[in-house]
């Protein structure tokens, strides 16, 4: 599921009626059968309080066939190495930091890791610019606090604190969005494996099996970089962008089709060609080299993630449907591409023009695209 959002990947699995009619069931509910089959087949040693052995967790994420014939669907399509390092990290007592540009399935991987290891992916702290310290440590039930004073009953534990008490995995999403002083609350938890509660003169020690998965994105602006003290507590795994153009074209096409249905856009007959072009342009500019490996290019400042490619194609489809003849053409995507590539008006525009002149102009069969782009660029 590289580079699709978790929603896209989730929709791809045959969805079963969710428990209690939830709009989006948790991973451990959705794949309960696979998890049970894995647990039954798994005879390897399990770290304390793990539902599965590390090997089975890796199999759960990467997919495979069990001895009893149960097919485990792949949750993550990408290098095996990455999943193995991530799972192994959780088995040692180091915390795991999943890093990557937007749209590389960080949250998706973290949810499934938690589901497979602890059978529970709900101990979640969502990082925002306004995340307070209470969200990571603990809060108070003020009614209780006023009537009974500071007692254990008046204390409201955070998901992290609950994970420590129960020996499960806690998840922190978008760690770098959290203000730096709040981030550093994690240092004691990760190094001392304890959470002091000075108001009660006690502490919450982490039970074996506790660990933490954080996700962060390394290309966005307006993030608070981790202090090096905190960074040292994490093993870092960078989730890459899709490895091959084919893979990425498929992801974009599938997601665009889903979005197109949701927006009631008519299906575009020539869409596949244009999607391939968008993906090619994105990949080439991102990688700084043409797909044939012959020409090096400068990379613009934007992330040019797969998610952006999806939005370029979707808006192109909308343009074609509402203002054009319903066929997705070069002109419909040119403006979108320009907007995605040129984030910094001076430097990026130059890079884009250079790309147009040196690569696109010469390319066989791309004349219409070149003309459309020239038109919107100048």
């Amino acid at each position: 599921m590289t580079a699709t959002t978790s929603a896209a990947a989730g929709a791809e699995q045959a969805p079963r009626p969710p428990a209690g009619g939830a709009l989006r069931p948790h991973a451990e509910q959705d794949f309960a059968a696979e998890l049970a089959a894995l647990a039954a087949a798994d005879d390897r040693p399990r770290p304390p309080r793990w539902k599965l052995s590390p090997w089975a967790v890796a199999t759960y994420l990467l997919g495979g066939t069990l001895p009893d014939g149960t097919a485990v669907t792949p949750k993550y399509v990408g290098p095996r190495r990455i999943v193995e390092v991530a799972v192994t990290t959780l088995a040692t007592d180091r915390a795991l930091l999943l890093l990557g540009v937007p749209g590389t399935a960080k949250t998706w991987v973290s949810e499934h890791l938690a589901a497979a290891v602890s059978g529970d992916s709900t101990l979640l702290v969502q990082g925002t610019a306004g995340t307070p310290e209470e969200a990571i440590r603990y809060g108070w039930n003020y009614a209780q606090l006023l009537t009974h004073g500071p007692t254990r009953e008046a204390l409201v534990p955070s998901p992290v604190m609950r994970a420590m008490a129960e020996g499960r995995l806690a998840r922190v999403e978008e760690l770098t969005r959290i203000p730096a002083d709040v981030q550093d609350t994690l240092i004691t938890i990760l190094s001392e494996k304890t959470l002091p509660i000075p108001e009660l003169g006690t502490e919450q020690q982490a039970v074996r099996g506790f660990n933490l998965i954080a996700t962060a994105n390394d290309r966005d602006r307006g993030v608070n970089d981790l202090s090096s003290a905190l960074r040292r507590r994490f093993n870092t795994v960078v989730l890459p962008l899709p490895a091959s153009a084919e893979e990425e074209v498929e992801i974009v096409a599938r997601r665009v089709a889903q979005l197109g249905r949701a927006l009631d856009l008519p299906a575009a007959p020539r869409g596949a060609d244009e999607i391939r072009r968008v993906v090619t342009v994105f990949r080439e500019l991102r990688a700084g080299i043409t797909e044939d490996g012959r020409t090096k290019l400068k990379s613009p400042s934007g992330t040019l993630s797969t998610a952006e490619a999806i939005s370029v194609v979707t808006s192109g489809l909308a343009l074609a449907a509402h203002f054009g003849d319903g066929v997705l053409r070069a002109g419909d995507i040119a403006a979108g591409i320009l907007g995605a590539v040129v984030r910094d008006p001076a430097a990026d525009r130059l890079i884009w023009q250079e790309y147009l002149e040196t690569v696109v102009r010469e390319r066989e069969g791309w004349k219409d695209f070149y003309r459309a782009c020239r038109e919107v660029t100048s």
Partner: protein, 815 residues
């Protein structure tokens, strides 16, 4: 099914021990030690086996010509990595290398034998034969590096480029697949290299391996190695010879050959196989080698990815992973990355846990790399590249004792020195070369090539201006240490030309700035290294694509265009060169306007130099569309009068003026358009200093224009008169500088014009009836023009001599 079962058994050391003894019983006077070339585990195992068996003779897979050189391996001045080099005597380009690293089993066996006083013999097919069989040496040299018969993975054989190479079976891959591994290297490491055999029979693993290989060969035959039967026949004959002379003989060869050597064949059949093979006269010597050469990535096809890691495995006394992590941490600290001992501890833990999870007996390079990336490098690949370069491959350069036979490069040099009658003399000597003569041109190429190789025999003596480009002056002086340089340069190739080409290609690939690549490209042209040019051009194109500084690009373009234009490149693909030049020009066109903004006075002056250089260069390029683009870029500069140079995004007047002038000279702007631009630039709204800059840029091309176009002169005159007194003192130096560059005659004429006709400013439109310029009549004088017209027309090629008689006048307008 049978190979799978057998291999499964072979991996089981206990079962294999039985096989070993069973196989060994009949022929205890010889043991076959099948190895993986450059496998540290194999090297350890070979040492243990030799120590246990104590043979009197050690036979090693390698060219028998090297027998005489084997003793040199014990020389303390010999430090691996080194390679045995065989080359055809009168054609050093036909050569083959047998590289040895410290951790190569062959090297270990060689050193053991020399220390233990055992006899050493190389038993492969003679290099004389294998080189005579080489297909086309010239093609091999640059494409693949010299043929490296022993370089490919175990069970190797055959030089690169051998027909049918594609079809060869990798025996390891077969075994690994059978054992359920997708990567043969990893399987070998797990099954053989990482397997400690404490207390076990040191010969057992070899017997097991021989069993497995026998199965593979039973299925795959010669595995697409067409020359193997002959090689193996030769080895068998040698082994027989040794068995007759000695009680105990050990054979160290690629695992692939073991079954063939163990099998029984008739002596006559073997001799028959070797009959009638061609022979060349060859010479063999030791040359220094490097780890980079051993690594596959360097294009030498030497067969291993990670010589540095293997060396570490071989030399580390214990706990290889822990020691490795400590090394990595040391390297990262040197590069100012904060890595603590805690990091090392965590990395070791992660690597070992990963190995356990992947079911490997020991953490290998893959686990170590993953752990270092996750723990020490924050998941980033940038420090990983450094680690790979410095540690995994490593910067180890071998050494060869001085009494090793001369390297072919030195012979080639000596030969060329004789042929060109350039004797190496310690006394400094001055040499003048006339490049129009063949011998002198060849001498110049040789000296340039040596300079590229860092052999500073000749130094360019800066030719005097008057002599033109076909002359070169050199100062020659042969210092004794240059011989050492020649020996060192031996790693680059076997002839001066091929070594210089390889060196130039390397320099271009590893250059850090565009200018370095351009310089290398120019040296290639001077040294006549057409072979290296494609690589250099590729590097140049890549650099140009990534270089954001238009000034760099502009500096690189003129030399490149000269090369394309004048065909300095003999026999090269001038088309490719032209493409690079055009790409460069295109990038300059796109990047020029932004690059000209926000420059100070010095920056603007420099940029003007670049603009003029590019302008001249672009005019020489064949593509008219490109010239149009360049003109459009210049026009963009000239027309950008909206913001003054000081303001953000503004373009300095100097550049705008220069652009206008270049366009005018090219006829892409007419007088009226130029007058409009000048009017804009010199209008009262423009700061005087800016306007003066414009004037300087515009008039830098010469002042004669002002003499002929009085409208422009009037504009200029009007502006100067209108400069407010306060600003005048600021502007004056600029104007003085501008006018000082005019020819005295022009300056004088302009002065007279201005004095005589101040009214022109009031009536800008020049009237034909106006009294002409000082010293000129108001109209053309047809009779006087006639004389010049003939010559001019002939020069322009617009007419022939006969035409001139009939259409004598009227051509006056043309000049």
């Amino acid at each position: 099914m049978s190979p799978a079962l057998r291999v499964g058994a072979a991996r089981d050391a206990a079962a294999a021990g039985e096989v070993a003894r069973a196989a060994g019983e009949s022929a205890q006077d010889v043991v076959l030690l099948g190895v993986r070339h450059h496998g540290p585990g194999s090297a350890r195992a070979v040492l243990a086996a030799l120590e246990a068996y104590r043979p009197q003779a050690v036979l090693i897979e390698g060219p028998p010509e090297a027998d005489a050189l084997a003793a040199l391996a014990a020389d303390p001045a010999m430090r691996p990595p080194v390679a045995l080099l065989s080359h055809v005597v009168d054609d050093p380009a036909r050569a083959a290398f047998w590289p040895f690293a410290e951790f190569s089993p062959e090297w270990a066996a060689l050193r053991w034998a020399l220390a233990a006083g055992a006899e050493v013999r190389f038993i492969d097919l003679p290099a004389a034969t294998s080189l005579a069989l080489l297909p086309s040496p010239e093609e091999l040299v640059l494409a693949e590096g010299p043929a490296a018969p022993d370089a490919d993975p175990p069970g190797e054989s055959g030089e690169p480029g051998e027909p049918g190479e594609e079809a060869r079976v990798d025996p390891l891959a077969v075994l690994a697949r059978t054992a359920g591994y997708d990567d043969p290297e990893r399987w070998w490491e797990d099954a053989v290299e990482h397997r400690g055999e404490e207390g076990g029979d040191p010969l057992a693993p070899f017997a097991a391996l021989a069993e497995a290989m026998a199965e593979v060969r039973a299925v795959h035959g010669d595995g697409g190695h067409p020359r193997d039967p002959a090689r193996e026949a030769h080895m068998r004959l040698k082994v027989r010879e040794a068995r007759r002379a000695h009680e105990r003989t050990a054979v160290v060869c690629g695992a692939w050959h073991v079954p063939a050597l163990a099998g029984r064949t008739a002596v006559a059949a073997d001799r028959q196989l070797l009959k009638g093979l061609p022979k060349a006269k060859v010479e063999t010597t030791w040359v220094p080698w490097t780890h980079r050469r051993l690594a596959r990535a360097s294009g030498y096809g030497a067969g291993i990815d990670s010589p540095g890691w293997y060396r570490h495995l071989f030399t580390a006394p214990d706990r290889p992973v822990t020691r490795w992590m400590t090394k990595v941490a040391g390297l990262l600290r040197e590069e100012d990355l904060p890595v603590s001992s805690a990091h090392v501890i965590e990395a070791v833990r992660l690597a070992e846990t990963l190995a356990a999870m992947r079911g490997r007996p020991l953490a290998g390079l893959g686990e170590a790399t993953d752990a270092v990336r996750a723990v020490m490098c924050d998941g980033s690949d940038v420090p990983m590249a450094l680690i790979r370069d410095r540690l995994v491959v490593g910067d180890v350069l071998g050494e060869v004792p001085p009494d090793a036979p001369a390297v072919p490069l030195a012979r080639d040099l000596a030969r060329q020195q004789r042929a060109l009658r350039l004797r190496p003399e310690a006394l400094e000597r001055h040499l003048e070369l006339d490049l129009r003569k063949d011998t002198d041109a060849a001498r110049s190429r040789l000296l340039h090539r040596l300079a590229l190789l860092g052999i500073g025999w000749g130094e360019p003596a800066g030719s005097r201006e008057s002599k033109g480009t076909f002359r070169e002056d050199w100062r020659l002086r042969w210092e004794p240490e240059l011989a050492v340089r020649v020996a060192e340069a031996g790693v680059w190739g076997t002839t001066v030309a091929s070594a210089a080409a390889a060196r130039a290609a390397d320099a271009a690939t590893h250059a850090t700035t565009l200018a370095e690549v351009t310089a290398t490209a120019e040296s290639c042209l001077l040294a006549g290294l057409a072979d290296a040019l494609p690589v250099v051009m590729r590097a140049l194109a890549d650099r140009a694509a990534l270089d954001t500084d238009v000034a760099h690009l502009a500096a690189a373009l003129p030399a490149l265009v000269r090369a394309v234009r004048y065909g300095d490149v003999r026999g090269t693909d001038a088309g490719a060169l032209g493409k690079v030049a055009e790409g460069l020009a295109l990038r300059i066109c796109v990047g020029l306007p932004p690059a000209c903004t926000g420059l100070d006075a010095d920056g603007a002056a420099q940029m003007r130099g670049h603009v003029e250089g590019v302008h001249r260069a672009v005019a020489l390029l064949p593509d008219p569309a490109l010239r149009d683009r360049w003109a459009a870029a210049l026009r963009g500069l000239a027309e950008r009068g909206d913001r003054p140079g000081g303001a953000p995004g503004g373009i300095p007047g100097l550049l705008r003026g220069a652009a206008a002038r270049l366009l005018l000279d090219d006829g892409r702007l007419d007088a009226a358009q130029v007058a409009r631009l000048m009017g804009l630039a010199l209008s009262p709204g423009t700061p005087p200093a800016e306007a003066a800059g414009w004037v300087e840029g515009f008039l830098a091309g010469g002042g004669m224009l002002l003499v002929h176009d009085q409208k422009l002169l009037a504009l200029l005159d009007g502006w100067i008169c209108g400069v407010p007194p306060a600003a005048f003192t600021d502007v004056l130096p600029l104007l003085r500088r501008t006018f000082a560059e005019f020819d005295p005659g022009v300056r004088r004429t302009v002065g007279e014009l201005v004095r005589r006709a101040p009214s022109l400013a009031a009536h800008p439109a020049p009237r034909p009836t106006d009294p002409g310029l000082p010293g000129f009549a108001p109209t053309l004088d047809p009779t006087r023009a006639e004389a010049a017209t003939h010559t001019v027309r002939l020069l322009l090629g617009t007419t022939t001599t006969t035409d001139l008689v009939t259409r004598g006048d009227g051509g006056a307008q043309d000049d």
